[in-house]
């Protein structure tokens, strides 16, 4: 049995597990309500008078800050709590396959949540004549952003048996990744640090790298940034799981 067949089997089970509990539906509803609220009320979608989804994508990092750790917190802590980790890791599967498969399932779940925001795209297209390329790149960026946050949640989830702790720690780390590039913070920083330093620090922010996608300019550096967060955090997940077993 190939590595990908194993990954597919685990990912399929994980994804099905989301929809077998009511939590998934609650999550989807909350996600869509908040996305709508942020876009139309806080984002001023109509007041902007633009045929774009800027109002929508602007709030994505803040929305994900809370919702993605909520999706990812159960990834490993639940396996540990229920004892199924012992079951999973004694099946003929390499740890990296299990880690990636579980991550992938949650990522697909988030992608489904994102896909359900399609009415907003339809609305914009109906009201005006937006650049759909920019919208697609915005979605790609959102997906990568969600993936990066999710991998961080996977990592914190491996560290703790408690989902709450996994959630809070993931939220803190994600918040840090946002704040270093958040305008109020960077302007505060630029008062006493050289502009080059501020730029380097801001370079670690997901906001900085998400911006390009919002404008429709897909830069390979932004792509590499998000993918390397994902790879790194999943790698740490593996190390944590191995060390926990080594005792």
């Amino acid at each position: 049995m190939g590595a990908w067949a194993v990954i597919r089997t685990i990912a399929k089970r994980e994804l099905a597990a989301y929809f077998e509990s009511p939590v998934a539906y609650v999550f989807l509803v909350v996600f869509l309500l908040l996305a709508g609220f942020f876009t139309f009320s806080l984002g001023g979608f109509f007041e902007l008078g633009e045929a774009s989804l800027n109002a929508f994508f602007n709030w994505m990092p803040w929305l994900y800050l809370f919702l993605v750790p909520a999706v990812g917190m159960r990834l490993w802590s639940e396996e540990r709590r229920q004892g199924t980790m012992e079951l999973l890791l004694t099946l003929p599967v390499a740890p990296w396959q299990a880690i990636f498969a579980k991550f992938l399932a949650s990522w697909v779940f988030l992608a489904i949540a994102m896909a359900l925001t399609f009415p907003i795209v339809v609305t914009v297209n109906w009201l005006g004549d937006p650049d759909n390329g920019v919208i697609v790149s915005g979605y790609v960026g959102s997906l990568l952003l969600a993936g990066a946050f999710l991998s961080i949640a996977s990592m914190t989830s491996a560290m703790s048996r408690s989902q709450i702790i996994a959630f809070i720690v993931a939220l803190m780390i994600c918040l840090l990744f946002i704040l270093v590039g958040f305008n109020p913070v960077t302007s505060l920083l630029s008062r006493w640090a050289a502009p080059s330093v501020v730029e380097v620090v801001a370079g670690f922010s997901v906001l900085t790298h998400f911006e390009g996608f919002q404008k429709g300019t897909v830069d390979s550096r932004d792509l590499v940034f998000f993918l390397s967060i994902i790879v790194f955090a999943l790698f740490v997940t593996g190390v944590v799981i191995r060390n926990r077993r080594a005792g």
Partner: protein, 326 residues
């Protein structure tokens, strides 16, 4: 099929498993005995590749569990302690998942599932989600998962824990049946289970193997093994003691009064002769004495020894230490 060499596992300063070595071949059912915390589960977790050993090595069907984990794991079926499963799943989707993970698809998967459903009596609960099941069903669902790919090696951590006596009996019979073609290790607290299902037993205490042999061999280690006990009706204890003490084969004597004027005497073979070998003639000597004295014999038998006595005498030191600590 299973080869364990000098296995060590330390958690911080404590050595949970301390130099354990044994082998299990095809057709063998190995019973794993020991007090709680003796290192049974830890040893099993190392055999199944869940925990990496601190030292030593395990090979399963010739594959080193650390060097070649996937090949080894393919050949192992494992029922972890407390029989975990994905609670939100239904029994049938859980079994489908287990089968797929073992590379079974299509017709082969359907057959494998039907087979284990039959063996573990899960017909009635296939569509139910696992969290709504009783403990016995949860347990059997996880057991079904462990045998779904008809593995050559089966590791069962307390397979009868939480089952009712009928279910216990069934699982024991199942282990015995499967044991003919596989190499099985199972741990238990129930000593009769070892006698009922195992071809060999290992007693482990504080991370070390303290006894290894067939159930009969272990029983022979018991102090009462080879002793003869005789129940008499209406005989006076003093007289019986005096008469029996004269017999050359008899060593120590124990007598206890039973209800309705019955008296049970237990005669231990004298000196250091091989207890089991001398047992037969000791019984004959006792019987002859009883006939001579015209005592009414109600019961006369040579004791095989009790596994429980062996278990307690070997692992008792631990309890003393714990009591002192507490």
């Amino acid at each position: 099929m299973i080869k364990v060499e000098n296995l060590v596992k330390s958690f911080g300063a404590t050595r949970a498993v301390d130099g354990v070595s044994f082998e299990v071949g095809r057709g063998e059912v190995l019973g794993f005995l020991g007090p709680n915390g003796a290192g049974k589960s830890t040893t099993m977790r190392m055999i199944t590749g869940f925990l990496p050993p601190s030292a030593g090595r395990v090979s399963v069907c010739g594959f080193d569990v650390e060097q070649d984990p996937l090949e080894a794991k393919r050949r192992i079926g494992y029922l972890p302690e407390a029989a975990p499963s994905y609670h939100e799943m239904s029994v049938v989707s859980f079994l489908k998942f287990a089968a797929e993970m073992r590379g079974l698809t299509g017709q082969a998967r359907r057959k494998a599932i039907a087979n284990v459903v039959d063996i573990c009596h899960l017909q009635g609960v296939l569509g139910q989600s696992i969290e709504t099941l009783s403990k016995g069903f949860k347990h059997r669902t996880c057991l079904a998962q462990s045998i779904i790919h008809d593995p050559e090696v089966l590791i069962l951590d307390e397979p009868t824990d939480g089952l009712d006596p009928n279910q216990k009996h069934e699982v024991r019979e199942l282990i015995k049946r499967m044991g003919a073609r596989k190499a099985i290790i199972f741990s238990t607290h129930i000593l009769e289970e070892v006698e009922a299902a195992c071809s060999r037993a290992i007693i482990i205490d504080r991370g070390r193997i303290v006894a290894n042999g067939t159930p009969a061999e272990l029983k022979a280690m018991s102090q009462t093994a080879g002793a003869v006990s005789m129940t008499l009706c209406g005989a006076a204890e003093q007289q019986v003691r005096e008469k029996l003490a004269l017999l050359p084969l008899v060593g120590r004597l124990e007598a206890s009064a039973q209800p309705q004027e019955r008296l049970t005497v237990r005669a231990f073979p004298g000196r250091s002769e091989d207890a089991a070998a001398r047992g037969g003639s000791l019984a004959a000597a006792l019987a002859q004495a009883a006939v001579r004295e015209q005592w009414k014999i109600e019961d006369l038998r040579t004791e095989e020894g009790r596994l429980e006595d062996v278990f307690r005498s070997i692992t008792r030191t631990d309890i003393h230490l714990e009591e002192k600590a507490a």
